[in-house]
């Protein structure tokens, strides 16, 4: 197991490096630049700015400087758009916000999704099952950019219960709508995966054996069925968690949370190369880490899997 983790981490380094190089090249290949505007800058002004940000260096030197800066000093450079802010500043401010929303969405989606799925599987073809399936299909077709306006209209405009946006240092009132909007469709997917996987497990021989021994249903579910039923769910959770972090692109902007999502999108529109790179690397690293985590959990749950 240890050598497996070590090997995976060793592969992660070149993977990230390739990610950096490809993103860098693609970004520079896109037309426009960070300092274009309706009013083109006079050449002398543009020259000063390019010199300040090292954009007058040859392309290969820029990429080498960038990688060296990131690797040796963990320095992602200055933002080109938000003058006097560094990418590190932006990530330090925005990432905790995004992570908080992502974490709570994950908890909500996971808890609600798994409970709904199990309930539906145990009471298959009952009203509870139909209700659970109905909810999860309904929720699946409500992506976060549809949920968000519905929530805003309902809870801010009509009922006046919740603030329509902002963060205020992470007060719970400001957290509810972003979390609900973000977690709904993930909850639906988790519920559906849990239900079908649980149904499958409940029809296997070892469950029948457990029931034949006279074990109470509760014990059969928790002790025997739960672990194998969770395997497909688990493989979904890694990408889902990363999806919730990146999915906050819409939520951060809609609810003005100040999370990295807004910065990420704007950096693409503004050609803010350094911010775009910084967040791309962050998301890339997260994806690698969570996929690794899922693989490790897999081995822990399923004794048949050994690396």
């Amino acid at each position: 197991m240890f050598s497996f983790v070590a090997r995976r981490l060793a592969v992660a380094v070149p993977t990230l490096l390739i990610l950096v190089v490809i993103s860098f090249v693609l970004m520079y290949a896109a037309p426009g630049g960070p300092f274009n505007s309706e009013r083109p800058l006079p050449p002398e002004v543009l020259a000063n700015i390019e010199a300040k940000y090292g954009l007058d260096d040859p392309f290969w030197r820029q990429i080498v400087n960038y990688v060296v800066g990131v690797v040796t000093q963990f320095d992602f450079g200055p933002s080109f758009q938000y003058k006097s802010r560094s990418v590190n500043d932006i990530i330090a401010q925005g990432f905790p916000v995004t992570l908080t929303i992502g974490f709570w969405s994950f908890v909500v989606a996971m808890t609600a999704g798994v409970s709904l799925g199990i309930a539906a599987a145990i009471k298959q073809n009952s009203w509870l099952d139909y209700l659970a399936v109905g909810i999860s299909i309904g929720a699946q077709v409500l992506p976060n950019f549809v949920m968000a306006p519905i929530l805003l209209l309902t809870f801010t405009l009509w009922l006046g219960w919740l603030p329509g946006g902002g963060w205020n240092g992470g007060q719970w009132q400001h957290l509810i709508m972003p979390v609900v909007a973000l977690s709904t469709s993930y909850m639906a997917s988790i519920a559906r995966i849990t239900r079908s996987s649980m149904l499958e497990v409940l029809n296997t021989n070892f469950i029948r054996t457990a029931q034949a021994k006279g074990l109470p249903m509760r014990r059969v579910i928790w002790k025997h069925a739960m672990k194998p039923a969770m395997l497909p769910v688990l493989s979904y959770l890694g990408p889902a968690f990363v999806g919730m972090i990146t999915g906050s692109v819409v939520i951060d902007s809609f609810f003005s949370t100040g999370g990295i999502g807004t910065f990420f999108v704007n950096s693409a529109f503004n050609r803010d190369y350094s911010v775009m790179m910084g967040i791309t690397i962050l998301v890339g690293a997260l994806t690698i880490v969570f996929n690794l985590l899922v693989d490790v959990l897999y081995a822990w749950i399923d004794p048949k899997i050994r690396y």
Partner: protein, 573 residues
């Protein structure tokens, strides 16, 4: 350029229109009032009550003032910078006019009033301005604001080390040696600004600019605190580090969420300031912002395109449409990379004539914008819109003339013309482009290919003359016609049509030093109407929702430059 962010930023979310339409406006109105107090309390952590009680009534009007003098408004996006020397957008300007104060301010009607300077004198040749500073102007840390602070700020803004994207403004002001200083060919000490003593600032220009005094109300000319900048470097603009000399000081700033400024007790005119606290909230989507406004969370927001008629019917006291100093136009590529047909002035003119501006402003935009037949905005100070023949014709007459011009040029049903039109991605640019291409089709039989491009791609395509016809917008840097017409100069960097007319160049050069340049401007507009390098479409309006308890909004200010210190909130009945 002020509105580059507005134009360029892509609204991330298309708030579903069907939800919008089903709004029950009446009901929200009552809710809004009911919720106002509770929501405000929820939103504002640790509100201030200082000074609120001291201003029970307005000192001049006698109106009863609200106990909570907090003004909350929506901004589209985070400003690139709130360092006066580096800032570049109009939203940043709104913030900076609260935090800092320049030599001169704009009154609510846009006229010039004293700021840190109590007045100025001009030399006989109009090349040297001498500003006298008040001796009671203070920084928020209690230090006195001196002429040296201005000298430092201007030299800093021009310096290659700061590499400010707005250093061109120093060039625009025609300060002595500005271009050479920016290019790094001369030291900043040679720039045409010097503090003669603590309260006297001398400014030397290379050419007389009749509107120079207007230019020192702009944020690039605001003083900056040398000590704080040297102590904190780039971090000096963060709350706690920032020292400012305006009516407010920065107390909280969370990028992409909000920026809070509160009363600066050291401000020289603090006794006459009523608003205690101003909060700008970043809300990308204008429909979200409108919903939050209706829920009582905001005092001011933008009216989404096309919603002005219904909102002004529902909330006549809260909707506002006033002239804003920008022009919307199509630029026609006149270089050899264009469609050869467009090199014929008759074709260009026919295209311009066939655009029914009234449909664009009344049916497509419907927000109080004005049909444009001249490039210069009709409301520009000291500018009389000249009598362009096209403007006084009926659309039927224009269409007739357009058809005959097109026939003269050799295009018609036997030889139809096809053109390409590019615009940057946005719903309203698209609606306008679709409407105009229909007008061209119906009147002239011209087929138009529409191509929308993402902002940065668009700028590059247009700037390289890799287009036939392109959308464009221009906002005034100062309130005088040359801020628009200078674009028609052959060597202007913003002349995307690559239009050259020696007479226009001569007229504009002469206007710079003339005491009454109106005749020159008239002639330039006439020539532009004849040559048609651009097709003016409409003159902008600022279309906003403003809560009816907010008073003192500078509706007459053509650039919509507002100062929180001039606003106040009255108590509800």
């Amino acid at each position: 350029m002020y509105y580059q962010l507005l134009e360029g930023a892509q609204v991330l979310l298309k708030n579903s229109d069907h939800l919008k339409d089903s709004y029950n406006w009446e009901r929200y109105m009552t809710l809004k009032t009911a919720l106002k107090t509770s929501t405000a309390a929820l939103l504002l952590m640790g509100g201030t009550q200082a000074f609120a009680d001291a201003h029970a009534t307005h000192p001049t009007t006698g109106e009863t003032l609200a106990s909570d003098q907090t003004f909350i408004y929506r901004d589209l996006d985070e400003s690139p910078s709130i360092d006066p020397g580096v800032a570049e957008d109009s939203a940043g300007g709104d913030i900076l006019r609260d935090l800092f104060e320049g030599l001169m301010n704009q009154a609510p009607d846009g006229s010039l009033i004293p700021g840190v300077a109590t007045g100025f004198t001009v030399s006989d040749d109009n090349l040297v301005y001498t500003f006298t500073l008040r001796d009671n102007a203070k920084w928020s840390n209690g230090d006195t604001v001196t002429a040296g602070d201005f000298e430092y700020a201007w030299k800093r803004a021009a310096s290659p080390e700061l590499a400010s994207p707005y250093s061109w403004y120093i060039e625009l002001m025609s300060l002595e040696n500005a271009s050479a200083v920016i290019a790094g060919e001369m030291g900043t000490d040679t720039l045409g600004v010097s503090a003669l003593d603590d309260t006297t600032l001398e400014v030397r220009l290379t050419q007389p600019l009749p509107y120079f005094a207007q230019m020192v109300t702009h944020f690039t000319t605001f003083p900056v605190p040398q000590s704080a900048i040297e102590a904190h470097g780039d971090d000096w603009t963060k709350p706690g580090n920032m020292v400012s000399n305006g009516a407010y000081m920065l107390t909280e700033h969370v990028p992409q969420e909000k920026l809070v400024r509160e009363r600066n007790v050291n401000y020289w005119d603090n006794d006459n300031t009523i608003i205690d606290k101003t909060v700008s909230l970043i809300i990308n989507d204008e429909n979200v912002a409108l919903t939050r406004y209706l829920a009582g969370e905001l005092d001011r927001t933008d009216v989404p395109a096309g919603q002005y008629p219904s909102l002004s019917e529902q909330y006549p006291a809260e909707t506002m449409s006033v002239p804003l100093s920008c022009s919307y136009y199509y630029t026609v590529n006149m270089t050899d990379t264009t469609n050869p047909a467009l090199l014929d002035a008759n074709v260009r003119k026919a295209l311009s004539l066939a655009v029914d501006r009234d449909i664009i402003v009344n049916n497509v935009l419907a927000g109080g914008q004005a049909a444009a037949y001249t490039f210069t905005h009709w409301a520009t100070a000291g500018f009389e819109t000249p009598d362009i023949p096209m403007a006084s014709m009926t659309q039927a007459e224009r269409n007739e003339m357009a058809k005959s011009l097109m026939a003269d040029a050799g295009y018609g049903s036997d030889n139809p013309l096809s053109l390409d039109l590019i615009y940057n991605t946005s719903e309203s640019h698209k609606s306008i482009a679709v409407a105009i291409s229909q007008m061209w089709k119906q009147t002239l039989g011209v087929t138009t290919g529409l191509d929308n491009q993402e902002w940065q791609t668009f700028l590059e395509t247009r700037g390289n003359q890799d287009y036939q016809i392109a959308r464009a917008g221009w906002c005034a840097d100062y309130n005088e016609a040359s801020t628009f017409l200078d674009l028609m100069q052959s060597d202007s960097g913003y002349n995307d049509a690559q239009y050259t007319n020696a007479e226009v160049d001569a007229l504009l050069a002469e206007a710079k030093t003339s005491n009454n340049p109106q005749a020159n401007y008239d002639r330039v507009e006439e020539l532009v109407a004849i040559d048609t390098p651009i097709i003016p479409i409409y003159h902008y309006a600022a279309v906003k929702m403003l809560d009816d308890d907010v008073m003192g909004w500078p509706r007459e200010n053509f650039q919509q430059n507002w100062y929180s210190k001039d606003l106040y909130k009255v108590a509800g009945e």
